[in-house]
Each structure stands twice: as C-alpha cells, then as structure tokens.
C-alpha cells in the first residue's frame, strides 16, 4: 500500500506544490491521477519513488517511510516511466538501454537474461535490439522506455502521460498491457490527460487541482460529475456526453463497440 499522510511539498523557491495530501493507493490496483496543468500530479508521484521528499508529512510504501530510503532503493520496487522518452534514452542500442536498469540494480546474469528476453518479446522490440533507440519513432521510443523499466519487474509502476504520441492501436496495446499488469498483481498509477483512454481503462480516479486532492472515486462516479469535471478543468469522455445527451443515463458503455451494441439493442426494443 502507498500512503500519503498530511503531505505538503514546497518547491525550493518556496511555492507550494502539494497541500495537505492524504491518500491511500491499495496494492494491486489501477489508479489514475487527473487534473489540469500545474495541479501537482507529477509532483505527487515523484514522492512515491523518493525523487521528492515531503516538506512536511509522510509518504509510506509498504509502511516504510520514503525519507529513509534512497531513490535507487525505492526504484527497485517503484518503476517510473517519464512523459518525455527523449529524457531517458541514451544508450547505443535498444538492448543496452533495456539492460541499463537491470545492471544498476545488480541482478544476476540468469535473471537479467530472462527478463530481457521477456520484455523484448512483450514490446515487440526484437528487430530493433541492435540499433540506437534515438533512431526510433516516438511510439517505439515510448515502448523502449516502458520495456527498460518493466525489465526489473517493479511491484509499482508509474506511467506519466503514457498515451502522448501514441496512435490508437498502440493505445489499445497499452490498455491491454496495463490490465495484464493488474492481473499479475502489480500496482499501476497513471497520470493522464487522455480521458477517453482512462474511460476505457476504468481505474480509480484521483482528481487534483492547485496542489490539492479534490475527489477520489471510481471512473463512473468521477467522470459523470459535471461540476467536478468543470472544477478540475477536464472534459468528460465523449461516450458519457453522447449517452447523457440522448437521455440514456443507466447503461454507460466503455468503448465504441459497446456503444453500438447498446444503441442497436435500443433500436430493436
């Protein structure tokens, strides 16, 4: 469990970025953090792997205070994929990029080989393994970043804007991949402005604004709350707008395919 207790965080220049945050993220859950720009989403998640330490209050991972551990120690269990892939990639080959974390954490050769083979297949990167990651397209670079973090099998995975620069096909792959992680008992935290993607993912939602947590709840509860959506500067998913617009409020489909089925059924009845 990830637990924020009365967490405040001030930037070095004194500006307040997080204000009295109390939050519990259970193990084996998918949580999305949403809010307008500057709401404090990235600042919040940087506390989970110790990149930032709270000015006051406590952040605990499995009851361990993050202040007592280094970023490297925490990162062993908390993998974080950053928004900008170009901020991460540096190695001469995709293979070395993926091995970077595995070598830093000093895993044994057998484990490294096993995990490398697993992620290279999972992200369909085999054909790129001996070329520079910097020569890949935006979507491929993102996959290399994901592979390089998932390689050491962290228990908690934080994805900062994972759908940016991804086409619809890749988004679907990512969606299935996150669900697969959930099945494999991982805790996944997603920061995203891609509301359509989140509606299909159906995570628990934490809404933030101005460094505060505004509301926590399931996707349906949050995204159907128009007042809340306006408050945190988010436009609800199109499916909700369409179905509510035509007066259907009980059965809210998750995907376009589901929407077609619901509309067909309505026509038939």
């Amino acid at each position: 469990m990830i637990k924020f207790e009365n967490v405040n965080y001030n930037h070095p220049d004194g500006t307040n970025a997080l204000n009295d945050i109390n939050l519990e993220i259970p193990e084996n859950s998918i949580t999305a953090i949403v809010g307008n720009n500057g709401a404090g989403k990235t600042t919040l998640v940087k506390h989970i792997n110790g990149l930032l330490k709270p000015t006051t209050g406590t952040v605990r991972i499995k009851n361990e205070d993050t202040r007592k551990s280094s970023v490297a120690e925490l990162s062993r269990n908390v993998g974080m994929v950053f928004q900008n892939a170009n901020h991460q990639l540096f190695a001469d080959t995709v293979k070395n990029e993926i091995l970077f974390g595995l070598n830093n954490f000093r895993f044994n050769e057998e484990f490294i080989k096993e995990r490398y083979d697993f992620v290279i297949e999972l992200f369909k990167l085999k054909k790129y393994e001996s070329i520079s990651p910097l020569k890949l397209s935006g979507g491929e670079k993102k996959r290399v970043c994901l592979a390089s973090v998932l390689a050491w099998n962290p228990e908690i995975l934080i994805l900062d804007e994972p759908t940016v620069g991804q086409d619809e096909l890749q988004k679907t792959v990512l969606l299935e991949f996150i669900n697969q992680l959930h099945i494999n008992k991982k805790t996944v935290i997603v920061i995203s402005h891609d509301i359509e993607f989140l509606w299909r993912l159906q995570p628990n939602i934490v809404t933030m604004s101005g460094g505060n947590i505004v509301e926590i709840g399931n996707s349906e509860k949050i995204f159907r709350n128009e007042e809340l959506m306006n408050k945190v500067g988010i436009i609800p998913p199109q499916i909700i707008k369409i179905f509510e617009g035509i007066g259907i409020k009980d059965e809210m489909p998750l995907s376009l395919e589901d929407s077609c089925t619901v509309i067909k059924n309505l026509r038939n009845s």
């Binding site: 070095p12 220049d13 940087k46 792997n49 990149l51 280094s70 970023v71 490297a72 990162s75 062993r76 908390v78 993998g79 974080m80 950053f82 900008n84 170009n86 901020h87 991460q88 990639l89 540096f90 190695a91 970077f100 974390g101 830093n104 954490f105 910097l134 390089s148 973090v149 050491w152």
Partner: protein, 240 residues
C-alpha cells in the same frame, strides 16, 4: 544545481533597478567589473562589495546574488589555495580570491536584473550582427529550459537505479554519460526545430527588420548615469 542556477537567471520584478534602461544597468555592471579588476587592496574590494550589496538590495535580489557568491566562493577558495601554495602571501591570495567573487557578482548583477529581451535591445543598440545577437540572446533565454531538462533527465535516470553520489571520482564522472547524452541530443533537436520555426516565420528575409520597441533614456536613467559616472571617475582619479 537548481540552487546555484537561480543565482544567474533573470526574474521579473518591480524594483527601481529593474526599471532602469538596460544600457544603464550594463554601465553600472561594467563599472563595478572594471573596479574589481583595477583595485588592489582589501579595503577597496570591500567598498566594491558594499556597492554590489546596495545595488542588490535596491533590486531585491540579495538572496539570489548570495547564491552566485556561494558558487563563486567554491572557485575562489581554489584560487586562494593555488596562490598561497605558489608562494604568494596570504593577504594577496585573499585579495585575488575576493576579486574573483567581485567580478562574478558584478556580471551576475546585470543578468539578474536584465531580461533576455532587454539584453537583445542593448546588443542591437551596439549594432552587433543580428544573427550573433539572436544566437547569444537565445542561449541566455534557454538557460532555465536546459536546467529543467537536466533535472528531468536526472530524475529519469535516478528512477532506473543510477546513483550519481556513489563511487570514486572517475566512476562518478562516467555516471554522467546517461545525463549528458540525452541532454545534448535534446538540445540539438530543439535547436533544429527552433531554426525551422524561425525560418518559417520569416527570419532572415530582411536584413533590417522593424521593431515595435526602441530604447529611450528617461530622466531617471540620466540621473543614475551621472551619479555612477561621477562615482566611478572619482575613484579612478583619487587613485583608488
């Protein structure tokens, strides 16, 4: 790193110094810089420090200038030690070290109170080539951006288990490769994109483009110029 960098980055403010014409700010900075180079005893160096302090108080940048001083103090300690072990007296070594801090602070003062836009006007006023001015001002303007990039890259690599603080000095230097490679590549990509964006907005079509703004000295600026020139000349004429 952010702590030190903030000692060199401009921030908007409403102080009387910020409101000065950028040419006047440059004049003050050059005068302080020149004096720091010319004076040779501790007493006079102290006067320069007092002048810098008054200037920073009026500009409300004392805290940030202190960061510059802390940055310069590290190097000046090195200068002091080298001079002392090279056979110079302790007093002389201290003077050289303090002179270095004064030079850095007088330069920093100008950049702390002058926006990149103002800097551009000043350089254009000197009739320097437009491309040169643009390249210089853009590099100054991008300092905070590059700093942010560096911090984000460091965060990304630390999250993959990179421990910059551990190991002997050679190992530590090697650990900066994962920071420097993405940083350089990002900046090269950014400069290419910037060049394309500038060209697509007509940069380079005209050799003498028009400008909405022009520099004009106010009465207030004239008074400051007279005061600073009199002070500077008096110190020089009195043999500092």
């Amino acid at each position: 790193m952010q702590f030190i960098a903030n000692g060199f980055i401009y921030r908007k403010s409403n102080s009387i110094i910020h409101k000065l014409d950028p040419r006047v700010k440059l004049l003050i900075s050059i005068q302080l810089f020149t004096l720091a180079l010319l004076v040779s005893d501790l007493y006079n160096l102290l006067i320069i420090f007092v002048a810098i302090s008054i200037f920073s108080l009026l500009a409300k940048i004392t805290q940030r200038l202190l960061r510059t001083m802390i940055f310069a103090a590290g190097f000046s300690m090195l200068i002091l030690i080298i001079n002392y072990f090279a056979g110079y007296s302790l007093i002389y070594s201290v003077q050289i070290a303090l002179r270095f801090i004064s030079i850095v602070c007088s330069t920093s003062l100008f950049f702390l109170v002058t926006s990149p836009d103002e800097l551009e006007y000043v350089l254009r006023w000197f009739r320097l080539p437009r491309d040169l001015v643009f390249a210089f001002v853009t590099s100054v303007r991008f300092v905070p951006v590059i700093l942010m990039d560096t911090l984000q890259i460091m965060d990304a690599q630390k999250s993959r288990g990179l421990e910059l603080e551990k190991g002997n000095p050679i190992k530590r230097i090697k650990k900066f490769v994962p920071i420097l490679v993405p940083l350089i590549i990002n900046e090269v990509i950014r400069s290419g994109e910037l060049a394309e964006a500038m060209e697509s907005r007509g940069y380079g079509i005209s050799k003498k483009p028009t400008s909405l703004y022009s520099l004009k000295l106010a009465n207030y600026d004239m008074i400051v110029i007279v005061i600073t020139i009199i002070s500077f000349s008096s110190i020089i004429l009195l043999g500092y």
